[in-house]
């Protein structure tokens, strides 16, 4: 082993130690936002989440006008609280697509029968893979996607009626 080679571990070590030291003096920030805001939606193509509503792929999101992409599930209780708000937005002409996370077609159909179906398209994300790809950490969660298929805004948790203006403003900004 030449002397230069033997120094490589030491150089790597010093580099890592310096990075640690740098991080220690950084202020703490623990909120985790999706890294994909202001980036294009990653490519995906999901099968239909429920019979009767079309399936959803990433290409369907770039339609020239802003849309909402809503992660929901029939097993998710907060999603029930969100359903009326989504329904109101749909009535106001907002285009909403849904992704059903870890769900079955039967359960989704029952959920939509009970709480209304605000969605134009619904994809079935059986193993949360699209959810992970979009950097979403829970259900429900909603993204504003602009006409070119670029994510403009991420909303964590259920959209209540108090949050409605925020989401509508973001949709307006995305035009």
């Amino acid at each position: 082993m030449s002397r230069g080679l033997r120094l490589i571990p030491i150089i790597l070590l010093v580099w890592i130690l310096l990075t640690f030291a740098w991080k220690l003096i950084q202020p703490e920030d623990s909120t985790v936002r999706s890294q994909l805001v202001n980036r294009e939606v990653p490519q995906f193509a999901l099968p239909a989440g429920v019979p009767g509503t079309p399936a959803l792929s990433s290409a369907d999101l770039a339609t020239g006008e802003p849309r909402l992409l809503n992660f929901f599930a029939s097993w998710c209780v907060p999603c029930v609280a969100e359903a009326p708000t989504l329904e109101r937005m749909r009535a106001q002409g907002v285009k909403i697509d849904g992704i059903a996370v870890r769900d079955t077609p039967g359960a989704v159909a029952a959920f939509l029968d009970r709480h209304g179906n605000p969605y134009q398209r619904i994809g079935a994300d059986r193993h949360s893979s699209v959810q992970l790809a979009l950097g979403s950490s829970g259900v429900p969660e909603t993204f504003v996607v602009d006409g070119k298929g670029v994510i403009r805004f991420q909303f964590l948790g259920p959209i209540g009626s108090a949050d409605l203006p925020t989401v509508m403003r973001e949709l307006e900004k995305a035009k």
Binding site: T19, F20, A21, L24, S74, V77
Partner: protein
């Protein structure tokens, strides 16, 4: 008085380690003969640490609220066992435990490692004293566990029922024994490089230490994994969380080390590499301690975060690891490699084993630190999770498993006989399982299918080293190896079964409804209110059956008052065939509750296999120690 006595013992121990360090430097440089003094100092220093730790235990057992640490972490109404466990359930106490284990390891090294050449032993004790000195300074200057409060408060603040869990009480000490136990291998390696004396005797002296630390690490990781499994409520058993990785990395290094040290012990080869691994293994322990204690990486395990303490540990880590690396860079060239070996031999098998383990270690290390490095270079925040780790480390682990079937069958130096015929049975097992997995489990990932096949093949392969001779007369160490390898197969089988056979049901149900998951019909009987010391809960009654008897499960959804938090207590029914895992979530206005149900066939094998691995390690350690002891006795006679 007791806290002051404990603090005095710590100062004295620090002073003795400083003295021990000076004397051992003098001895190794040939300026004075201090062999007996250095050895005695190591023992006294270890006992003083133990004394200080016992003092802390007493203070906690008596709930002496004039001590700040007790006030913050204990409460007079706590059950006694958790009062005592509270001593190490906080930063200062756990660092005192760390230092105590370090000191006792030094004492044990001094008392028991007679087979080491004296100069190497004194140099190793010097290295151990240097380590102790730094961590003593950390305790005394940045984390004093015995600081007093005046006036003493009337009641403590620490009645957090979340932390009152037997798993949490004994998990940290187990891991610490593993982490810090590796310090001895580090010190022996440093001592041997300083004294220029790396040979088989050294490897034999180092091996029990590596095995001992490795057993505790294995147990600690296994227990930690089960704790996360039942506590976090999502049915996962490994999350690739930075704190989990912090314990996995030293384990990977120690596993590689205990294999390479066997080569050095038996064949006098792989000298430089073994020394490097010994340095890396303990360095990973220090990196792990740093990651956990500094909070530089976002983790689900939120511990007290303090940048000054982080900086202190970082400085210690930097000094020790850099010094060891520089020593290695200077001395590695002078180590003559010993006996040569051929391409098909036990040595070559272990070299490949080490290569794979080191690459997996690198993969985990890079994945764990990448978010940090990326943020430092580009300011971008990102996270690295299971998709990366599984995709990169998984196939390497499969290769390692294949090697595990072959390696132990190879002879030292070179294998003349063909080994393929011996592997017919394991090969058939694996092939049949693979075919069944492909036909029966079309949805399972390719990795889990391969894992199932591998486990099926490894079960017979692991016991092959015991076959062909009288198993009762096989050395204990061989038994240990076979059982540890068998445990690895069992654990891999459990992991693959969990990811391919698990059925999951997430649903919102009303009391009275019946939900099916896998072969089970689960009837949701109803919910009852339950109350604890500072929480109230809704407890569901679930009646699960699959034809035979009925099992009643009672998962809870708990609401804590201060601070207001909500947690889920999973209810788990363990059966021979697997576990039924149930979680109760929040409810809606219409009286429906979120239920999460999993049927996990064979999942318990993951932890059962882990325990087998540790037990195999224990047998190997006993076997090697007994042989060394007999040999010494024979020489003495």
């Amino acid at each position: 008085m007791i806290p002051e006595t404990g603090l005095a013992a710590l100062w004295l121990a620090a002073a003795l380690s400083l003295l021990g360090l000076f004397l051992s430097v003098g001895h190794v440089r040939g300026m004075l003969d201090a062999e007996r003094a250095v050895r005695a100092l190591a023992i006294v220093q270890g006992l003083l640490c133990l004394f200080a730790f016992l003092a802390l235990l007493i203070v906690f057992a008596r709930t002496d609220l004039s001590v700040a640490l007790v006030f913050e972490n204990s409460h007079s109404a706590k059950p006694f066992i958790y009062k005592v466990a509270g001593a190490w359930g906080n930063h200062e106490g756990s660092m005192l435990l760390w230092v105590t284990v370090l000191g006792l390891s030094g004492a044990a090294l001094s008392a028991m490692s007679r087979q080491l050449p004296p100069r190497t032993l004194i140099a190793a004790l010097g290295a151990q004293a240097a380590l102790a000195l730094g961590f003593h300074a950390f305790l005394l200057f940045a984390s004093n566990p015995f600081a007093r409060l005046s006036p003493a408060p009337v009641e403590g603040r620490g009645l957090n029922p979340l932390l009152q869990d037997p798993g949490l009480a004994f998990h940290p000490p187990t891991l610490y024994l593993g982490y810090v136990g590796l310090s001895v291998a580090f010190s022996i390696a440093v001592g041997a490089m300083l004294a220029g004396d790396v040979d088989r005797r050294l490897a034999r002296a180092m091996r029990p230490w590596v095995l001992g630390a490795w057993i505790f690490l294995t147990l600690g990781i296994t227990a930690g994994s089960y704790w996360a499994y039942y506590e976090l409520g999502w049915g996962g058993w490994w999350f690739w969380d930075p704190v989990e990785n912090a314990s996995l990395m030293p384990w990977l290094a120690a596993t590689a080390l205990l294999h390479s040290v066997a080569v050095l012990a038996a064949r006098d080869a792989l000298k430089a590499w073994t020394m490097m691994l010994a340095v890396i293994a303990f360095s990973m322990s220090m990196v792990g301690t740093f990651l956990v204690r500094s909070g530089v990486l976002t983790s689900v395990h939120a511990f007290a975060v303090d940048p000054t303490r982080g900086a202190f540990i970082l400085a210690l880590l930097g000094v020790y690891v850099t010094a060891a690396f520089v020593l290695f860079a200077v001395r590695a060239g002078t180590l003559r490699e010993g006996a040569p070996f051929e391409l098909v031999s036990r040595e070559a098998g272990i070299v490949v084993n080490n290569l794979l383990l080191t690459v997996i270690l690198g993969v985990v290390f890079i994945g764990t630190l990448y978010p940090l490095l990326a943020e430092a270079l580009s300011g971008e925040k990102l996270s690295v999770g299971a998709p990366y780790f599984n995709a990169v480390a998984g196939p390497l682990a499969i290769l390692l498993g294949l090697l595990l079937a072959v390696g132990p069958l190879l002879g030292w130096r070179r294998e003349k006989r063909p080994i393929a015929p011996k592997l017919t049975v394991p090969g058939l097992f694996a092939a049949c399982t693979l075919v069944i997995a492909f036909l029966g489990l079309p949805d399972a990932s390719i990795l889990s299918k391969l894992g199932l096949a591998l486990a099926a093949g490894l079960l017979p392969a692991a016991i092959l080293p015991l076959i062909g001779r009288n198993p009762l007369r096989a050395p204990l160490a061989t038994w240990g190896m076979a059982i540890a390898h068998l445990g690895a197969a069992v654990s891999v089988g459990g992991m693959a079964a969990d990811s391919s056979l698990t059925t999951e049901k997430l649903t919102a149900a009303r009391p009275g409804e019946t939900v099916d998951v896998g072969p089970w019909l689960v009837k949701f009987q109803g919910v009852n209110p339950v109350a604890g010391p500072n929480w109230t809960a809704v407890e569901a009654e679930l009646r699960a059956s699959r034809g035979g008897g009925v099992h009643v499960l009672r998962p809870q959804s708990r609401f804590f008052t201060s601070p207001p938090t909500e947690t889920n207590e999973a209810a788990i029914q363990t059966l021979l065939a697997g576990q039924l895992y149930t979680v109760l979530g929040p409810s809606d206005d219409e009286g429906r509750y979120q239920l999460r149900l999993w049927w996990k066939p064979m999942v318990t094998l993951i932890w059962f296999g882990g325990a087998m691995v540790a037990f195999g390690g224990l047998l190997a350690m006993l076997g090697h120690t007994r042989r060394a002891w007999r040999k010494r006795k024979a020489v003495a006679e």
